[in-house]
């Protein structure tokens, strides 16, 4: 899977992803799921770190964004990233089941939403959206 080369013209053959989740077990599982698909990935622990890593100049093909996090939650982080002009695929992953809450998350700028826990098939369906 080739990266789209939409960030600074640097083309690589590996997709890149950012995992944003405050839960250590989830970070480990999401990292392994992505690794298994050959996707280079890094993890941060809250929305503010997700914004900061983009401020430092890094971009990613895919962002897996948890909703409930301390310091800055996924809704606010998604909003800020979109305001910064980040066009990466942002997939919200959450355990929330209330339609209103999910809608608020989606309206913040998500490209996709998946209910946790994340599985291989859910991740693959997210990735198909990037390439499709």
């Amino acid at each position: 899977m080739a990266a789209q080369g939409r960030h600074g013209g640097k083309k690589s053959n590996k997709m890149t992803a950012l995992v944003v989740d405050d839960n250590t077990v989830n970070r480990m599982i999401h990292h392994r799921l992505l690794d298994n698909l050959g996707i280079e990935n890094v993890a941060v622990v809250n929305g503010k770190e997700a914004v900061d890593i983009h401020c430092s100049g890094k971009t990613f093909d895919l962002i897996l964004m948890d909703m409930d996090m301390p310091v800055m939650n996924g809704i606010e982080a998604t909003r800020q990233l979109r305001e910064m002009g980040i066009r990466s695929m942002i997939a919200g992953v959450s355990t929330r089941s209330m339609e209103r809450e999910i809608r608020e998350f989606i309206e913040a700028g998500l490209d996709d939403y998946q209910e946790k826990p994340l599985t291989m098939s859910k991740l693959i369906s997210i990735i198909h959206k990037i390439n499709g």
């Binding site: 405050d22 839960n23 077990v25 480990m28 599982i29 355990t95 946790k116």
Partner: protein
């Protein structure tokens, strides 16, 4: 005990854990993520879950022991525990956390104390079961065998 017997024992034990609701399909996901390049993945994630959970249970005990219980804090800890137990497939722990969060919302101190006991009970049960399962796997690998895939027809 020869390897074939050990493998059958592992398969039967794993199936029992699913049937009794200790584990759900998410645990299968973890097993599928383990391969030759990551042969210890399940052990690593489960160990992380144990460490994380025990810390959370301690934090919960302390938070519920305060004269003025901060239910927001309690709920935040339970939310974390629910998240990790759900991610590794520890179904009964996850369900106990769901009930716990409902009582946190009601700010019911007696009920939340009972919930904490229930979550601890379920956690130590599944910890024991998982340690047994992982020990069976270790024995098979040590005897030169491979860990059979869990066929659950999901």
């Amino acid at each position: 005990m020869e390897v074939g017997q050990m493998q059958r024992r592992l398969v039967d034990y794993t199936k029992t854990l699913f049937m009794e609701g200790f584990l759900d399909a998410q645990f299968l996901q973890l097993q599928q993520l383990q391969d030759e390049s990551n042969p210890d993945f399940v052990v690593e994630v489960v160990s992380l879950f144990f460490d994380d959970s025990e810390k959370l249970l301690n934090d919960l005990s302390m938070a519920l022991d305060q004269p003025n219980v901060d239910f927001k804090k309690v709920d935040a800890h339970v939310h974390q525990l629910k998240g990790s137990s759900s991610s590794i497939g520890a179904q009964r722990v996850k369900n106990a956390c769901i009930a716990f969060r409902n009582f946190c919302e009601e700010q019911n101190i007696d009920a939340t104390l009972r919930c904490l006991q229930q979550v601890k009970h379920e956690y130590y049960l599944v910890k024991n079961k998982l340690e047994t399962l992982l020990r069976l796997e270790q024995q098979i690998v040590a005897a030169g065998g491979s860990i059979p895939a869990t066929e659950m027809g999901f």
